[in-house]
């Protein structure tokens, strides 16, 4: 089975960028991790190649810092598909599109409750503290498919550095 871990979000919008930054960190050690950033339907073609998709994203239904393992259920018909904003498609919408395209990936989500979506703000302490819990849940999920998640160092520092790169332009 082909498995892909996809981090989503935009670090310009506070905690929204958590999934993207964590994915950037994990990509250094794992070739099955992908940074979806805010590319939205632009990565639909990439996702179409996989049997199992595990997303990392925020979920506003959760209290700040709480971590949840979710599964994405249901499907869309053509009448229900709609392209509203190419950059802001949540995982559920992308999975809906894939299923409408006759692809049927298993879709899971490791979600974190955000504290702050303010533009240009750094990650909240709640979301940073959730990083290790997210990694533990990801490890468990990936083990179901015979994959081992690897990383070195402190993921919290890596996420903070990711935000600095984006907000302060260290890499420009």
């Amino acid at each position: 089975m082909k498995v892909l871990v996809v981090g989503f979000g935009n670090p310009l919008y506070g905690d929204d960028g958590f999934g993207s930054c964590l994915a950037q960190y994990l990509m250094r050690f794992n070739n099955f991790v992908y940074d979806g950033n805010a590319h939205g339907i632009g990565i639909l073609g990439t996702l179409a190649d996989y049997d199992v998709l595990i997303f990392i994203d925020v979920d506003v239904r959760l209290p700040p810092g709480a971590v949840a393992v979710e599964r994405i259920e249901g499907s869309l018909t053509v009448q229900e598909t709609r392209l509203v904003d190419a950059h802001r498609a949540p995982p559920s919408l992308l999975v809906g599109y894939l299923r409408a395209m006759s692809k049927n990936p298993v879709a899971r989500l490791v979600a974190v409750g955000p504290a702050n979506f303010e533009p240009l703000s750094p990650p909240s302490r709640h979301i940073l503290a959730a990083a290790n819990v997210v990694l533990k849940e990801l490890t468990n999920l990936l083990a179901e498919y015979g994959l081992e998640l690897r990383w070195e160092g402190d993921p919290t520092n890596a996420i903070e550095e990711c935000y600095k790169r984006v907000l302060e332009g260290d890499n420009v």
Binding site: L76, T77, E80, T81, A86, H126, V172
Partner: protein
């Protein structure tokens, strides 16, 4: 009875454009049409005070689709203002990347995913059932290339999401972007474009070129396939579908100005000539400016302004002398009436000493080098101001003031009227004779997803139409897709030739932040939606004024009363003209009309207004939902 339609948003993917139309239910004729850009677009305001080279990357962020378009136009403006252009390999890499990331990625996406659904089975069979019946029994002419037996078979595969064409497009747009990213580093905002060069890592150039080739070979088959689909549909709507007054649908519906006013910037700098002008100018930006018309005319696609089938001028520095923008019907203050000059005062001449707007004292303040963006939000009032889109016009030397159309059709139009031919590294790319254009695609292009008819050589012929109509614009985009793929092939061969000659240097030596004490310039670059145009004024390495036209800006212009010399009755952008010149062909009762023909007319331009998008959606898509399996109450973070 009048049927009034308000369609918002009209764009299928993103961007906020609304359409108001008033239709006579008896004659089915559109009586009035207005388009409204619903959101503010004002990057110019925060560009002032920044380094000119930053504009390449800031303007790129105007849009997630046209990112490379703006970056390239801005790069040409920076090249000219800095007084230096890349070495030949730099120019070739710039062309190879752009052929992929915008054109070969974007044209099929626009055709098959954004415009195609309007001609799919689900729409055609529901709204125009008689057309569907004809399509079911109409055999195809190009089945040896696309493999479809009837026109209806194509329409079935154009169904969104489930259709084979929709899904093949998703796959191939990714391949094109991968090829472009080999050079740009990323998409849609290129990381490697710099004034006078390109910063792509060329330490293993043969490998990069090989990676590009493997993708281009697949895509050359793909463009033949896409062209055959749309040529087939064009001929079907030309020969088998009529409007209520008995005329050919393809030749009349969605017509724009009469005669058309076609503007194109050209793209694909000639590797040698665009490099040589820097050597000849010896670091003097004015000298370099004086050679821009030679460089632009040497591009592999040609610049110019045509009125009907006559070329007004082939020279961008001459055309831009009369390029003005008004704010009568749009939500901006009239900066000229308010006497708000740019920080350097009113510019009166171009860098060669020629008077702006041909010396007209009243109008020169509306030239782009003199414009100041001053937003003035208000309610929509069709008698006064009703849109955020400004009003570009061109003042001609004889005093006429004309509206502007731009897009793939305008680029093919100018290529054809130039009556010339373009070759690269011994490969013939295209040639024209004033009324016809021929494009030469290479063979040996095997793509396992497509019929074998796409594997061989193919010559595509395009005849210069009399008017721009909905279907002429769609066909032009498909033909243009083939042309840009041929350019990508020519550029790749040229790159191999440069490698063999050992000429792999890409960029001029440039000290960061070193600019002339004062210089001004412009950069034009034809892109999938039209001519992307940037005007730059810099002083001591800081932008003092930056104005730009997004590719859609001339097309989405509202009406005003500024046109002169025979254009007074059609003084609006092509969107409004195209929507106005329509009959409703929907076969449903008037109270159920959806405006299909009008949206087809406007979507044929690809009316992307992502540059005005600032909203977002969160949440679930339809019946797909996230089910929480377990929650970890992370004590450390609560």
């Amino acid at each position: 009875m009048s049927i009034k339609l308000w369609i918002d948003p009209i764009t299928r993917i993103e961007g906020h454009l609304a359409l108001y139309a008033d239709i006579d239910s008896q004659t089915k004729r559109v009586k009035e049409a207005r388009t409204v850009a619903m959101m503010f677009r004002g990057f110019e305001i925060f560009l002032r005070g920044r380094a000119p080279e930053d504009a390449i990357h800031i303007t790129s962020r105007t849009c997630g689709v046209c990112g490379a378009a703006h970056a390239n136009a801005s790069t040409r403006a920076c090249d000219a203002a800095a007084g230096m252009t890349p070495y030949p390999m730099g120019n070739v890499l710039r062309t190879m990347a752009y052929a992929m990331t915008d054109y070969i990625y974007d044209h099929p996406l626009i055709l098959n995913m954004l415009e195609g659904p309007d001609y799919s089975e689900v729409i055609v069979s529901k709204l125009t059932p008689s057309v569907w019946e004809i399509a079911r029994t109409t055999p195809t002419k190009y089945s040896d290339i696309h493999g479809y037996r009837t026109v209806a078979d194509i329409m079935i595969d154009l169904n969104p999401v489930t259709g084979r064409l929709w899904q093949l497009t998703v796959k191939h747009q990714r391949i094109a972007r991968e090829a472009g990213v080999l050079i740009y580093g990323r998409h849609s905002h290129p990381a490697t474009l710099i004034p006078g060069g390109i910063s792509t890592d060329v330490s293993n150039l043969p490998s990069l070129l090989q990676e590009y080739y493997t993708r281009l070979a697949l895509l050359l088959a793909w463009v033949k396939f896409v062209w055959a689909i749309w040529q087939e549909l064009y001929e079907f709507y030309r020969d088998h579908v009529s409007t209520p007054d008995g005329k050919s649908y393809a030749l009349t519906q969605g017509k724009t100005h009469d005669p058309p006013v076609m503007l194109a910037g050209g793209w694909g700098d000639d590797p040698e000539i665009y490099s040589k002008i820097t050597d000849e100018a010896r670091g003097d930006w004015r000298e370099l400016y004086a050679k821009l018309d030679v460089a632009y005319n040497a591009r592999w696609e040609k610049p110019g302004l045509a009125i009907g089938h006559e070329i007004y001028s082939k020279n961008p520095t001459e055309i831009q002398l009369g390029y003005v923008e008004f704010a009568e019907s749009s939500f901006y203050e009239d900066w000229a009436q308010k006497n708000v000059a740019p920080p350097y005062g009113w510019l009166r001449e171009d860098p060669l000493g020629r008077p702006l707007v041909h010396g007209d004292e009243n109008l020169l303040k509306y030239h782009m080098w003199n414009r100041t963006t001053m937003p003035k939000p208000g309610a929509i009032n069709f008698a006064e101001k009703y849109t955020w889109a400004a009003e570009p016009r061109i003042v001609l030397k004889d005093g006429r003031i004309v509206p502007i159309e731009t897009g793939p059709i305008s680029q093919l139009w100018l290529n054809t009227l130039h009556a010339t031919k373009v070759e690269a590294a011994g490969q013939k790319i295209w040639e024209s004779n004033g009324s016809q254009l021929k494009i030469y695609l290479p063979g040996g292009t095997v793509n396992p997803d497509l019929p074998p008819g796409t594997y061989g050589e193919l010559v595509i012929t395009w005849n210069l139409p009399k008017y721009s109509t909905t279907w002429e614009r769609l066909l032009a985009r498909a033909v243009h897709l083939a042309l840009v793929a041929a350019m990508g092939w020519g550029a790749l061969l040229y790159a191999f030739q440069l490698v063999n000659e050992g000429r792999t240097q890409t960029s001029r030596l440039w000290n960061f932040g070193k600019w002339p004490s004062f210089s001004y310039s412009f950069g034009w670059w034809q892109v999938p939606r039209g001519n992307c145009m940037h005007w730059l004024v810099q002083q001591n390495g800081r932008i003092v004024n930056y104005q730009y036209e997004a590719p859609t800006t001339p097309n989405v212009s509202p009406r005003n009363n500024r046109c002169r010399g025979g254009w007074e009755g059609q003084c609006a952008g092509p969107f409004e003209l195209a929507a106005l010149n329509n009959y409703v062909t929907e076969e449903t009762p008037p109270d159920q009309w959806t405006g299909l023909d009008l949206v087809r007319a406007i979507r044929s331009f690809d009316p992307c207004l992502a540059c005005a998008v600032h909203f977002e959606t969160k949440g679930e898509g339809g019946r797909v939902s996230n089910v929480i399996e377990k929650v970890v109450w992370n004590v450390c973070s609560l």
